[in-house]
């Protein structure tokens, strides 16, 4: 083969050692941490991938579901599945009750005043679209302004672009400080008499930064603007109090907080929701239907057309029970530890550049990063194929942010309360092996 100039590589590489296998188990004396305690609740984590123990570090994309939630879903379909809000019979009554109880659980979880302020949607993206296409289209006029940031998720940019185009409103984007967090001073400077809405992330899925939403909301209200909080990366990880924040709208998705996919939440202050026209039309959201017109239900049902994701809502309720049982403050405290650990270990790998604030200020337990000279896709391919470590690579639905940072793509490791420091170690070992391979 050498004669053909094609080059010849040894047919068998050196035997592969999975990083997860080699990291030492915790000393028996150490008290079990949240990650150890909860691990048995997540059977999906107990598998091998490409011959290595799975190390799942892609929680910002989606979380795993505990047995309690899985059982609840199965239970629903096995025992009392029925359509809600109509029907008198026993199954329907039970399903309706469970569905509305789930709604109340969500209200309690974020400290909403009443269940009427909780609209079930398909996900956070749909929730933002709902606000944009109802409140946005009916409120925004030509020349009005909406403030976003360069770090927003596409779901908190694109709906506003569409609505801005339809209404003639304009969008303004806050940029970042040198520290790679939201530039709050710049944000304040962007307000004018025409500013109607500020729509911002609470926690950034790429930078890991946490924004001072309470201050921002107060400032916005002082200037006559409403605020929508994208809480997708905060609600799953910490206590979020919508009344404490005084948020006008707040959105999050079930699947990032141990709940099933297919259900999300729009929180809206009652008077805001009351004034909004319907989003999708159809059954459930009506009061009376005639041939030439219809009257609409009150919120929240006004915004829930058609048969809802009943099982999923109940599953979300179960997820909330599970998380509340662990205690959101406990979860948060544990993740602060993990976050520091992840940041410190990752930043000590040479050639690594982590985006977002340094770990001094509090960071979410995620790190988007690049390694000099190695494409993040190559990195994540190798991590997965050779070590069973699951991270994400790409633009994480924040293309404008990546452009702002001057990069095309990044890799991202994101943790949740069922991860452990051992897994972080495994990730770092795997990363070192990967870097060695590609250098």
């Amino acid at each position: 083969m050498a004669a053909l100039g094609l080059g010849f590589i040894a047919l068998h590489g050196r035997p592969r050692a999975c990083a997860a296998a080699s990291s030492a188990p915790a000393a028996a004396a150490a008290p079990p941490v949240l990650g150890d305690v909860t691990r048995p609740h997540f059977p999906i984590l107990d598998q091998t991938v490409n011959g290595c123990k799975l190390v799942y570090l892609d929680n910002a994309a989606t979380s795993q579901k505990p047995v309690a939630v899985l059982d609840k879903l199965k239970d629903y379909y096995s025992v009392y599945n029925s359509n809600v809000h109509r029907g008198i019979h026993a199954l329907s009554a039970k399903a309706t009750e469970a569905y509305e109880v789930a709604r109340q659980k969500v209200a309690n979880f974020i400290n909403a005043e009443t269940y009427r302020e909780i609209v079930f949607t398909r996900n956070a993206t749909e929730a933002i679209n709902l606000v944009a296409f109802t409140w946005g289209l009916s409120t925004l006029r030509e020349g009005d302004e909406v403030i976003l940031s360069v770090a927003e998720h596409h779901s908190n940019i694109v709906p506003w672009q569409i609505v801005a185009q339809k209404t003639g409103a304009s969008l303004k984007y806050v940029t970042l400080t040198e520290d790679e967090t939201l530039n709050v001073e710049e944000l304040k400077g962007l307000f004018t008499k025409k500013t109607k809405l500020v729509s911002l992330h609470h926690v950034s899925n790429t930078l890991g930064s946490i924004n001072p939403m309470q201050d921002i909301i107060r400032y916005a209200h002082d200037h006559g603007a409403k605020v929508l909080v994208d809480a997708c990366q905060s609600v799953p990880h910490m206590t979020v109090d919508v009344r404490g924040l005084d948020a006008d709208f707040l959105v999050f998705s079930s699947h990032k907080m141990c709940g099933p996919t297919g259900i999300g939440v729009l929180y809206g202050k009652h008077d805001m929701l009351m004034a909004m026209p319907p989003f999708l039309g159809g059954g459930e959201m009506i009061s009376d239907v005639f041939l030439n017109h219809s009257t609409y239900a009150d919120p929240p049902l006004r915004f829930e057309a058609g048969t809802p994701a009943i099982a999923e809502a109940i599953g979300l309720g179960a997820a909330i029970d599970y998380l509340s049982n662990l205690g959101m403050d406990n979860i948060h405290a544990y993740e602060v530890e993990l976050s520091k650990y992840l940041y410190s270990k990752l930043s000590s790998v040479s050639g690594v550049r982590i985006y977002g604030p340094k770990s001094g200020s509090e960071r979410a337990a995620l790190c988007a990063f690049n390694v000099e000279g190695i494409h993040p896709t190559d990195l994540s391919t190798f991590l997965d194929q050779q070590h069973g470590v699951a991270v994400r690579s790409g633009h994480h639905c924040t293309q404008p942010l990546h452009r702002h940072l001057g990069i095309n793509a990044s890799a991202r490791a994101s943790l949740y309360f069922y991860n452990t420091k051992r897994e972080v170690d495994a990730f770092i070992d795997a990363l070192n092996d990967t870097i060695g391979f590609f250098s």
């Binding site: 083969m1 053909l4 094609l6 080059g7 010849f8 590589i9 040894a10 047919l11 068998h12 590489g13 050196r14 592969r16 490409n50 190695i374 494409h375 896709t377 190559d378 391919t381 190798f382 194929q385 050779q386 690579s393 790409g394 095309n408 793509a409 391979f437 590609f438």
Partner: protein, 352 residues
């Protein structure tokens, strides 16, 4: 009919794929460009199980039709690379091999990193450039910001450079399997690899077209239609390729522009005389294809037609036979600038 003879033996399998056990209707198009045949078969690459079935059906159908399904011949260099990779057992070694190739690939100068050279649908950025070398052989250059992707590109560059355009165009993506890399590549990367390959084929085709004087082959019309999309989509419309692929401009010799009387009329006349149809509809849809590369250089439109014909003669005949009959009757048209025929041929008993 130089080009026609060369493309002979390329089969397009149309029909219900990938339904095992169901015979695909085989449409033999004398000048069907291989990229189209490649499209059908490339759907195969997406799923090796249905691939096997589909190919078996095509082979069986071909045998039944008394024709031979041509065996795929890989260019020498590509064949060597394929066997090299097929021999690698360990995944890590496979990556090392890819990196080895990547490192050998010289960087692509900035001026060639254009949109026209960019491969769509890759997880990283990839550019491919093609140019003609000595003796009408195609040479490729490529680059990527991901080293594994660069390795894949290098593999294709080394495997395909130095071949003639036609050799490259005839290839199907079947060789992907043989590399044995599928386990080591995510579906996203595999589809990126496929897109790289398709872009290289497209560029080879462009060279083939440029080097033929005058009329442009129908192949470009085929490529211009949205079949370069990924496997999932190309799977959904097997009939569509048949329609627009049922074309050829066999001639590399520039013919004079069609006679003053409308081609529509000519087509109608010929079909009327030969088939005595009960229904005959001929529709000039050339305007829909006005932008296509294939049409460039042809004067007066009249390049794409929809033909619906219902004739007693078709009773009991297979779709293949019917279409062949229509082509036969319109041979002269096809030689003189008619690029595409979309044919619906029914027997009177089949009218719903």
């Amino acid at each position: 009919m130089e080009a026609a003879r060369h493309f002979q033996g390329s089969w397009l399998c149309v029909g219900d794929w990938p339904a095992p056990g169901k015979r695909a209707a085989l449409l033999r198009v004398s000048a069907a460009p291989s990229p189209l045949g490649g499209v059908s078969l490339s759907a195969i690459a997406a799923s090796s199980r249905s691939a096997k079935v589909f190919r078996v059906n095509c082979t069986a159908a071909a045998a039944a039709a008394g024709e031979q399904l041509e065996e795929e011949v890989l260019p020498d260099k590509l064949r060597e690379i394929v066997s090299l990779f097929a021999a690698v057992r360990d995944q890590r070694a496979a990556y090392e091999q890819l990196m080895h190739y990547a490192k050998r690939l010289p960087p692509l100068p900035d001026e060639h990193r254009t949109d026209a050279n960019k491969v769509v649908g890759c997880v990283s950025r990839v550019w491919v450039r093609a140019y003609l070398g000595d003796h009408g052989k195609v040479l490729y250059e490529a680059d990527s910001d991901s080293i594994l992707t660069k390795g894949l590109a290098a593999l294709l560059v080394e495997g395909l450079s130095g071949s003639r355009p036609r050799e490259i165009i005839r290839l199907t993506p079947a060789f992907f399997h043989m590399l044995g890399l599928k386990q080591s590549l995510t579906p996203a990367r595999t589809s990126g690899f496929y897109n790289m390959f398709r872009l290289m084929q497209k560029k080879a085709l462009e060279m083939e077209m440029d080097s033929s004087a005058g009329s442009s082959p129908a192949t470009a019309a085929v490529l211009a239609s949205p079949k370069e999309s990924d496997d999932a989509r190309s799977a959904a419309t097997p009939a569509a390729p048949a329609a627009s692929a049922a074309t050829r401009s066999p001639s590399t010799i520039a013919e004079s522009s069609p006679p003053a009387s409308s081609r529509s009329v000519a087509i109608e006349k010929k079909l009327q005389e030969a088939l005595a149809p009960t229904v005959l509809e001929v529709e000039d849809v050339s305007h829909q294809h006005a932008g296509h590369a294939a049409v460039r250089g042809t004067t007066g439109g009249e390049t794409h037609f929809n033909v619906k014909v219902v004739a007693a003669e078709f009773e009991g005949q297979s779709v293949v036979k019917r279409h062949r009959r229509v082509y036969q009757l319109l041979e002269d048209e096809l030689k003189s600038g008619l690029h595409a025929l979309s044919i619906v041929a029914k027997a009177p008993s089949e009218l719903g």
